[in-house]
Symmetry: C2
């Protein structure tokens, strides 16, 4: 939309789900000024052009960018190719080899493909920091590094810890936050977005802009998204993720299995609801005028629509309804609540949940391919499960027996 | 001389008066290799192109360069114009404004004029670090700064103190030693010379060369030269100096007034004597076969010759002889030894030294222009002197009365 909302309304949406903002007063002033002058704010977010393999946790920042975009501001998708071209110059870090120009372009394309499922491509300015950093002279570098002190740099959490533990910090590591800060000078950023782990670097940007005689950017950090377990942060290695490239079916299914609480959190951080719509959703859920399952269906459809398009969202909903509704998944599945446990056998779990009379019956059912967890067939009668607090899933045994297992 | 001395002999001369060498074993190996392959060592010394106003204290390093030169090695006079062009980028240090290219060239010329009174210009390679630093890209800078750690940099005495006292250190200050180190890479230096205050920076050079796959240079530091008082380091502000631009007469006179001990020290650090000649001088002085005054005359002539040429040295000697010898300066002047004292009046001193019977006689003598200190007429009867330990000078009162005042 090209018309700006009233500044305080904009601020409300922007702050939704933010971990931290420096500072909301400053940001409000910038929004007011932008509103008055009809000049969009320049909102920067930087990305490493390393091989992208994104899950929803990564899209929290993008979603915040999208919100700015929907409010009419100019979003800048900055690809930090300068440092990627260098890699790890100490040669000690195998995971950070120098990337070639071609690899960077390839990764950036893959990135863009995923990112523009969230952002409006036509309204996004894409930039590369090599544009100005390649032209940087050594004198420029000296000048830049004169703008920050060693002591302030060592305040960064990871530097501080390494310094105190006497683990080596190479001097070039001090230069990277400065380069990131200079990017904000080059881009004349009014706002910079990033995850909470980027807070220090974003603050450096404020300081560097000031040194170069430019108004300091506001910074806004977004929290790390909780994974499907609702406890640990979403991560591939923990297996508690929805990947951007997950199939519509998986995306839909995983969303449906969120706890009610986590579903609200995902709405807060990942949806495109306006502040008013989001508040209404919470009220409706609280007073029972909206069933959590319906809210989940809508969220699941939103995700599939965003990452796979409208048509896929419709098919996923149809498929879901066929399996869970039409194919006899009862409206209310008996719930079995239990404490977290490690390495519980599937047969034991099924007995406890009242799905069979004995462990051996459970094994027979599995061997005859009659057991599903969240619509996925169980094939191994020896399967062991680690059940973490906050998880929930549906076990189907035979054609008519269901139990929703909820780990408390 | 184009023919190399035997390596161990070279080493002896090189180590004479050195404060520190890292390491003499390595240096001997380099000398042996150079001797075998008839390839001169590349010996680097860097200079700041700030306004030069040199005294003999500054020439200790140059003299060491000259020794290398006389041994047949390649001396490189490196002008650190790169950083001078930048100045102090924090803008906080008024004494370090950025110099223009013209100012740097002007200062370098003045420098060269003074330096080539010690060095053989035809055998000196002059270089400027802007040659390679101006071409340095930001990627080069990242690579360079990756070769050294923050912790090691903070080990430098002044950084350590400032860090502990929480005085700010700008990050660019960490880059300067790296640049100086890279200069040794660019120049392929085998040896770097500098004052003791440069020790850390020279060691960084060793490390940086290694990182760039080049044999590490040996480093050799020279001590701070004691001033004419024999106690504090030579400095303009303390007034205990012989300036490179001092007149032949002053240079000669100041040298003649050195204590015997300090004279030997100056021979060690500033003369062009070979090791054998220097050892012989010490022996001759010890067994009385050489009179200290004669040794001083030769040193005085050496200085005047070096900084003003042969002719000036001859005139200065003649003048000295006329005043002190032919004009009735007795061969043995009565010596008056006394402890250091502040603000003693000239008349009081003359009375104490037995040059007059009363303070009032002293004043009369001064008023009638009949009093000289080291051949310089005293015009102020109220003159007060600060006499520091190690000083000595001759007071002449009237035509025939002399006293050599020695402050113990």
């Amino acid at each position: 939309m090209a018309v700006f909302l009233e500044p305080r309304e904009q601020l409300k949406l922007i702050l939704r789900g933010a971990a931290d903002v420096v500072s909301s007063d400053e940001l409000l002033k910038k929004l007011e000024n932008s509103f008055k002058t009809k000049k969009p704010l320049r909102v920067k977010a930087g990305f490493d052009p390393t091989k992208p393999d994104l899950h929803l946790g990564h899209t929290v920042v993008m979603n915040k960018m999208r919100q700015f975009q929907d409010l009419g501001h100019q979003v800048i998708f900055l690809i930090g190719d300068f440092t990627a071209l260098i890699g790890d110059p100490t040669g000690k870090n195998e995971t950070r080899p120098a990337l070639s120009r071609e690899e960077i372009n390839e990764n950036s394309k893959t990135y863009a493909k995923q990112v523009f499922k969230v952002l409006d491509e036509s309204k996004t300015e894409i930039s590369y920091n090599s544009i100005w950093m390649d032209k940087f002279t050594s004198a420029d570098f000296i000048k830049l590094s004169a703008q920050y002190t060693v002591a302030r740099m060592i305040e960064r959490d990871d530097f501080k810890q390494r310094f105190e533990k006497q683990q080596p910090i190479s001097i070039h590591e001090f230069l990277y936050p400065l380069v990131q800060g200079y990017d904000s000078v080059a881009l004349k950023a009014d706002v910079e977005l990033g995850g909470t782990d980027q807070r220090f670097n974003l603050l450096v940007g404020r300081s560097i802009q000031k040194s170069y005689g430019i108004d300091s950017q506001c910074i806004l950090t977004t929290p790390l998204l909780e994974g499907l377990d609702g406890i640990q942060k979403m991560s591939k290695s923990l297996g508690n993720y929805i990947a951007v490239e997950d199939s519509p079916k998986d995306m839909f299914g995983k969303t449906m299995r969120l706890s009610d609480e986590l579903m609200v959190r995902y709405y807060e951080l990942l949806s495109d609801l306006s502040s008013v719509e989001f508040e209404k959703l919470k009220t409706d859920l609280a007073n029972g005028s909206k069933h959590p399952r319906d809210a989940k269906v809508e969220l699941a459809q939103f995700f599939v629509r965003r990452f796979h398009g409208e048509k896929a969202a419709e098919s996923a909903l149809r498929e879901f309804e066929e399996i869970f509704v039409k194919k006899g998944l009862p409206d209310e599945i008996p719930e079995y609540r239990m404490a977290a446990v490690s390495q519980i056998s599937i047969s034991n779990l099924m007995s406890q949940a009242g799905l069979c009379s004995s462990n051996s019956e459970a094994r027979r059912l599995i061997e005859s391919k009659a057991v599903e967890i969240d619509s996925v067939k169980v094939t191994d009668p020896q399967l062991k499960l680690d059940l973490k607090s906050g998880e929930s899933f549906v076990i189907k045994a035979g054609k008519k027996r269901f139990a929703k297992v909820v780990i408390t």
